[in-house]
Assembly symmetry: C2
Homo-oligomer: 258 residues x 2
């Protein structure tokens, strides 16, 4: 008997070559390390299928994956399975927050209804001492209301070719962006600002969130207007878009299913 499990996973992607397993296990990837840990506790070779790949350096508070396990030598509760995988992952910065039995037709990627990413920018003069690797550090003060206004022109169903990586393998560049919210809060006692950009869609193209963020920073710097963003979107050309924001600031926050 095979039982499918849904895993909720947190990871610090700083030192990994992204989600996707590589040949020979080098460089290390999140998927590869979890599959090794599953093997170590169960003896089984499995594929841990996530809701989608994340790039090198990208983090997750709530990546979702599924894995099929054959009968174990002794019956285990789902929480014991999470604990057993974690025992083999530790001290790597990857952990299983929960394991839950799932029906055979549950698919972490194809059943996903909504994904939410958070992108964090630290906007201040001094480099980040505490959150290095978890924020994009931008010294020049950004105009957050202008970024928020420009973000709204990107909402809806569009051809997002301008914001997809040239190596993106998706057949269809059409996506529906449901949310792109830019907000600011005080970060520290030195006057720093943290800007958070929350992006939601059923699915995203390769580098799409990072390319959207990079473009919004041009607006924040006063170089681009909201009209320039519309024009870039309509150009359907990656060269018309802004730069790709660094991986470090990006977190896959959650994936929702019906």
């Amino acid at each position: 008997m095979t039982q499918r499990y849904r895993l909720t996973i947190e990871y610090n992607g700083s030192d990994y070559a992204g989600w996707q397993r590589q040949e020979n296990g080098r460089p290390q990837t999140i998927q590869g390390e979890i599959e090794k840990a599953v093997k170590a506790f169960s003896g089984q070779d499995t594929t841990v299928q996530s809701s989608g790949r994340t790039d090198a350096g990208v983090h997750a508070y709530g990546q979702i994956a599924h894995v099929d396990l054959e009968d174990l030598t002794r019956p285990m509760q789902p929480f014991e399975i999470a604990k057993a995988i974690n025992a083999h992952l530790y001290p790597q910065p990857i952990c299983i927050l929960s394991a839950e039995p799932a029906p055979d037709d549950f698919h972490a990627r194809f059943s996903a209804k909504n994904k939410r990413y958070i992108y964090r920018i630290l906007n201040r003069q001094a480099f980040p001492a505490i959150e290095r690797g978890f924020v994009w550090h931008i010294r020049r003060p950004l105009d957050v209301p202008a970024m928020q206004e420009a973000a709204q022109v990107l909402l809806g169903h569009h051809d997002f070719t301008t914001f997809r990586d040239s190596e993106c393998q998706a057949q269809n560049p059409m996506r529906t962006l449901d949310r792109l919210d830019v907000s600011a809060r005080e970060y520290d006692t030195g006057g720093g600002i943290e800007i958070r950009i929350a992006a939601e869609a059923k699915s995203f193209l390769h580098h799409m969130v990072r390319n959207l963020v990079g473009t919004l920073t041009l607006v924040g710097e006063g170089k681009w207007s909201a009209a320039d963003v519309t024009e870039a979107l309509e150009a359907k050309d990656r060269c018309a878009g802004g730069p790709t924001a660094p991986a470090a600031g990006l977190f896959l926050e959650r994936v929702d299913y019906e």
Copy 2:
């Protein structure tokens, strides 16, 4: 001419032997590294005097210190001084958020009117993947309202001998605790809770915040009542108090002056 500067400092204390400079510069300390950076840009031997020492592994979002600089070979604006020190600190996880001219009678320690610490507890099964070194990981679910209630019996002017380290060098164990608030928020999509304990006083004894937090976790686990906390306080005996919480969860958030 000597000019005093007030520095606001952020640091990740994980890999340092605390604030206070050590003989020969080993192991590395926050104070020692900042003094080296000041020397590197100015050529001057200085003492960087903080609002108070922090222990090994303790972090700061807003430590305050003062330093006296003789005339520089070229006049520099305060923001340039912060930038010059940072250039020599980088890539260490210590940065000067701001440098401001201060009167000669400003003293980072003796002029301080209020200090605020934050202690962070990650309360969930899975170990921390993203915030390792920045939280105390406790698996057993804690009763936050009970902790908050017990915390309130500690407020006010008391002999805090029960909560001071046996090596504390303060002559007087009397302190006035102005705030000790325990609050919880959702941490992740796996059902985790982050508990934050905010502590404010004009000054604290050695290990006082960590000993207060360790004692409150006994309440959170249901082992102690608020009355037990009162009894411990009244015992004026370190042996009557709870354990010392790990350094990793502690942040000096801010120091206020008149």
